[in-house]
Subunit: 126 residues, 2 copies
């Protein structure tokens, strides 16, 4: 199970903010696997490198700028992000191109968002 | 370094979406440490249990409902979330109360948010 890829379109996009209701166990397991892929500084830098590229897509030859690790290490990290459903990859001629999966990132963003009214409620109860 | 707590107010709230610009190494390290705290299904369930409680705060006696792990394990997970700056705790009489740190959750949410215009750009380039 732990070596299986998370499908980009599997349960990635129907997530309620966790301030709204407690997470059920299957959703928690799915989201935790995605957060695990984000729990590494180099992977976060690589993901941001792809995400901030024009069109949210970048050639692997352009991704490593500013990240001081070897090419095999970069390939490993990109595979982890792809297996977590956060990136897709496509080979074109000699190069592999990586693109973000906006729905997957937005689902995680939604899960963690604390709306202004919730924040106000927290402050009001303090 | 790895055993030190992340300060709730340290660099938690000034984050740009990673679709906007590549992350620098110090911010990536800080954010990765917070995602690591979220990379466990039981911790996500406990965090959502606190966050979805009235006022974003809950007594430790109320948090464990629906989570089938021992009390010492729950305490350990809550400490990890607190050390990552995602929860605060306060003892009142016999019980410890945990509260979410809305700014910290919102910072992670902002980091991962893909705005509609960015998503459109991705689709347009596909």
């Amino acid at each position: 199970m732990s070596n299986q890829s998370i499908q980009p379109d599997a349960a990635c996009c129907l997530v309620e903010p966790l301030v709204r209701e407690p997470l059920d166990a299957p959703t928690a397991a799915d989201m935790a696997a995605r957060f695990k892929a984000l729990a590494d500084p180099v992977r976060l830098q690589l993901l941001s490198s792809v995400a901030s590229h024009a069109g949210g897509e970048a050639c692997v030859c352009d991704i490593s700028a500013g990240v001081e690790v070897s090419q095999p290490t970069i390939s490993h990290h990109l595979k982890v992000l792809r297996d977590a459903g956060l990136l897709t990859s496509q080979r074109r001629a000699s190069w592999v191109y990586y693109a973000v999966v906006p729905e997957a990132l937005n689902a995680l963003s939604t899960l963690l968002s604390v709306h202004a009214d919730a924040a106000t409620a927290v402050e009001a109860s303090a």
